[in-house]
Symmetry: C2
Subunit: 131 residues, 2 copies
């Protein structure tokens, strides 16, 4: 029993570590390529380009404190990628809107992601390039 559990834990450990590392590496590479700090890319991903989001909900999506979002959004706003907009319902709330420049950056990030996945796919199926 103990042996089985240790084995399962080891496999799970290795799998999680590998998945996390590969995701993290890809994520960091894209962030760096577009000259965004990792948390900034995370925020840009978490925002809905068609539907403004309160600061507080972005904090939840990023699993961090509201106070962090202030700084992250400050920097995204300074680059013209997002805008704060007053909520009409609750004057305490600020809604986050992705600007046209932000939407364009999101599109380019997506394209780059697709290209990376394509590369990996071609690597893992190198003998089979006809489809």
């Amino acid at each position: 029993m103990e042996t089985l559990e240790r084995s399962a834990a080891s496999e799970a450990w290795a799998l999680i570590a590998q998945l996390f590392t590969s995701q993290r590496t890809r994520f960091l590479a894209i962030a760096s390529e577009f000259d965004l700090a990792p948390a900034q890319l995370g925020a840009l991903k978490a925002l809905d380009p068609e539907d403004p989001l309160p600061m507080r909900e972005l904090a939840q999506a990023l699993a961090c404190d509201n106070s962090n979002v202030t700084g992250i959004v400050d920097r995204l706003e300074a680059r013209g990628l997002v805008e704060r907009r007053a909520s009409t319902d609750d004057r305490r709330v600020k809604m986050l809107v992705v600007t046209e420049a932000g939407k364009d950056l999101r599109r380019r990030v997506k394209a780059q992601l697709l290209a990376l996945l394509g590369d990996e796919d071609r690597k893992s199926t190198r003998l089979n390039s006809s489809h």
Copy 2:
């Protein structure tokens, strides 16, 4: 064609984001539970408890600069989880050894990971608890 590619990109984007987020959340929860900064847990995971590793190789495993590893290892060493040891082959190199306390922490992290995975498994197969 464009539509198909956009669709693939959207799916890939969503899948990557979801995988990354779930991994990240689990990773951060465990790091916090054991009072380790994320990079410190990453380093502890990357080290082999049975086989000392040069600083430089830890930097490669963490995909960061050598200079960062100095600080991360400083803090792990201050907590008695790892030790720097001079290499016998090359006097420039410092080998990283996981202490008994570090090995114990690794074991507890693994156990916690197994418990988390078990919880998730039970959640996703809630009607079927007999095997």
